[in-house]
Symmetry: C2
Subunit: 206 residues, 2 copies
Amino acid sequence: MGEQLRRRTGIDAEKILDAALTLFARQGYQVTSMDEIGSSLGIKGPSLYNHVRSKQEVLVTIMTNTMSALIRAQNAALEAGGDFKTQLRRVVEAHVRYHAAHPREAFVGNREIGSLETEYRVELLELRDAYEHKLRSLIEDGSLEGEFLVPSAKLVSYAILEMGIGVATWFNPLGELGVDEVAYVYAEMALRMVTMRTHTEETSLL
Amino acid sequence: MGEQLRRRTGIDAEKILDAALTLFARQGYQVTSMDEIGSSLGIKGPSLYNHVRSKQEVLVTIMTNTMSALIRAQNAALEAGGDFKTQLRRVVEAHVRYHAAHPREAFVGNREIGSLETEYRVELLELRDAYEHKLRSLIEDGSLEGEFLVPSAKLVSYAILEMGIGVATWFNPLGELGVDEVAYVYAEMALRMVTMRTHTEETSLL
DNA sequence: CCTACCGATCGGTAGG
DNA sequence: CCTACCGATCGGTAGG
């Protein structure tokens, strides 16, 4: 009997987003229940509705935050200036660093697009598109200036982003390769992809 | 009143796998019900159990078939022989061709690993690992022979596979680029990744 | 922030 | 291959 000892919970929307992010990343959005999210914060499922409007809103916020962070990092890389090679290096490093440091965000962002209701999905894909086009434009501009030579700016852009996303899958901060080394290697690979090979008979494919 | 006109259904496990694959790819495993799968074949959900043991078995079969097909294609590419560059080109082209031609399998195979029960997930990850190691060994062997020069065979292998998987996301058989052109471009990018750049000050990073 | 509960969905089985 | 149904889960609301 007697009143339950109630510790200051200090629960807010941000803590809920973080707990949900962990669970969504580990087991998926659909399979995660509001009760589970609450439970990982020491409260019951229905109590979450004092802080968030719906489970869908939680997912939308997580995914929008993720794309915003990526776009901010990309803009910072581009605004630092330098020649095209330097800019490409910085953009790729920023992309890889984000995915190495934020695997949960990367998992959810890349796997749960289909779990978004249509209107939100459309908005998110637009952000994603803008992110890709910034990289593509850099490659196109560098090609016009003669610094790069690529078979297809679009495909090279897709490939660079995709391989960087993969880092989130396997990167281990306690592994033998640190985030710096991984970022450098991916930037080097990207630079090779936009640079003519030494002995090449098939440089201009398209 | 009168017996319902019953067309020959001709339903078998294979048809069920194909229908399930389409739905799993479009909306995800968890969200797809057995009733939906049945409905897309003109029968009721419970009738599926005359052909398959469980929904999980359907997913396992789909994903195992996918990895088997990829491994077969990779082996064929390697057995065709040639120098290391030729082998790498063939392996990458086979990888890309599969993902361009089988987007449903690619979506499910890369998004639903977490929907597999532990034992099946372990088995599938072993197949995946073997597939990656075949490519990695090719890169390592080519490096020992002096045909390739890479900052990390492991990372280059990861990057090549990951960028090829991405093709399943955007490739459109009716688009301006055909599957041949896409395969060639990705092989060219892979070859650049394992080849020293012309003007390079930072070739050996690790 | 909690209990109680509504309305709906779902995988799988029984029995034909 | 179908209907009927079991047992369980879940998002969200009511009302405190």
